[in-house]
Symmetry: C2
Subunit: 281 residues, 2 copies
């Protein structure tokens, strides 16, 4: 059952024939479970696998691969440690293990490498201050689609990092990873605690804290000078709390009259795009 696939292959390839095999327990019924409570997470597809392999902030624990996909993945697996198990299964069993049809044929079990993540975040914050760039602070975001989209937009417009408050949902949840197009693996992030203390800490590091607030007197385009900024995003529906806004420079996104409804990740995109390419005064 266990064997190497020849010289072009680093890790152990293990054939799995039984859904209840304990070695693949972490891959079972991933749709129903919130795996991230264990600190580990499941990510799908070869593109995301590449991002995990390229990041020193994450460690691949094991792979579940469709039999016919294995040959195509061989080059990128060659560099894996020999003790990283690669579980090979047939299509029908793959779907029964996952609990839903997985079209990409690759599922990675991975975990954060905490010291590297902390070091990378520190470096990213310092670099962002130096470059007068922007970081995103997600406070209370509860929807995994919005979390993933926020990371995607942060990456698109070069935000240096994402800080989460204690209430924000997990970017390493399967749905968030997918919507992020894997950018949760490329944009450094950390969970820090309460939003007020996050604002104080970022201000101490040199960031101007900016809060999106529909009732703000200043429109987004009032932010014309280039400086390091932290963009605070509030929970879907409720927005940011008053004591957080009080520590920030509030700005509004101008909308058609009668509407103040915009998706939170879309709002982030508008602000990040504006801050990345401010108009000339």
């Amino acid at each position: 059952m266990r064997g190497h696939e020849g010289a072009d292959f680093g890790p152990a390839v293990i054939d799995i024939a039984d859904r209840e095999d304990e070695r693949i327990a972490a891959f079972r019924d991933v749709r129903e479970r919130d795996l991230t409570r264990s600190g580990r997470f499941i990510a799908e597809g070869a593109v995301v696998l590449d991002q995990i392999l390229a990041s020193r902030r994450f460690r691949l624990v094991a792979l579940l691969v469709l039999r016919e996909r294995l040959a195509g993945l061989a080059p990128r697996l060659a560099a894996l440690p020999a003790d990283t198990p690669v579980y090979r299964v047939e299509r029908e069993l793959f779907d029964r293990i996952a609990g839903f049809p997985v079209h990409r044929g690759v599922m990675a079990l991975a975990e954060p490498v905490e010291p590297a993540a902390a070091a990378d975040l520190d470096a990213a914050l310092a670099a962002t201050v130096a470059a007068r760039g922007c970081v995103v602070v997600a406070c209370g975001l509860s929807n995994h689609d919005n979390m993933g989209a926020t990371f995607r937009n942060a990456a698109a417009f070069g935000a240096g990092a994402v800080i989460l408050d204690r209430r924000a949902c997990d970017p390493l949840y399967r749905k968030a990873i997918r919507v992020s197009v894997g950018t949760v693996f490329t944009v450094p992030f950390a969970r820090w605690g309460g939003a007020v203390s996050i604002a104080d800490r970022l201000a101490g590091l040199g960031f101007e804290c900016v809060a999106l607030s529909p009732g703000a007197p200043e429109p987004l385009r009032a932010l014309r000078d280039r400086r390091a900024r932290a963009l605070f995003l509030g929970a879907e529906g409720e927005g940011l709390e008053g004591d957080v806004i009080a520590r920030c420079r509030p700005v509004r996104i101008e909308m058609a009259s009668g509407l103040d409804s915009l998706n939170v990740a879309t709002s982030a995109a508008l602000v990040l795009h504006h801050l990345a390419w401010p108009e000339q005064p």
Copy 2:
């Protein structure tokens, strides 16, 4: 089984006790079906119901209402024609009819009123040209979330209308309605045919056709003058076809190096926001 609820109520209230009752066939298993092929559609919730009732472009065909929600809906139902059936059901039956747990307790069966829709679209296009505003042209959008989000962003930034090409998915699909926050009922739209002929027709009406294209020489901020514009959005993944871009002024959204990935509805938000509030030159 059939009776009026007293003087404060226009329509007939009909108690339904059987999931297989033919009168509620259109509400059955709505999750699995693409009802819109029949020209009719299902929308959920009181807010969306209000939007349908307020629009002359849509007609309410029937309502399915949770027993305990009926009293709260009475004021808005009083104005309904007496021959609009309101089907009243218990919670447990409601969920079994719909095929999933419906939390809002109101499902509306409705249909477009074609002459009003065509007249409103003509008026909206003329008003948009006069106001130097913007319309959105969705070509080949295949994802209902993206379609709904595109309408939401069109509404947020005051776009006058949305034109669909023949390949774009249906904005009146349940998921699109929900993501749009009901704006599919407030922003006039129509399906016109091929994207190239749409560009020709809009140009003839006085619109400058603008296409989002990652390789365009001009960035978004090059659009500084205020004039009537039609923003062409392409399919997820493939983008717009070459012969469509050739009829448009291509612009790019500037992103962090190495990335040209942005959700299509988010891209629309960036352009519409920019065009609604162009910076001073």
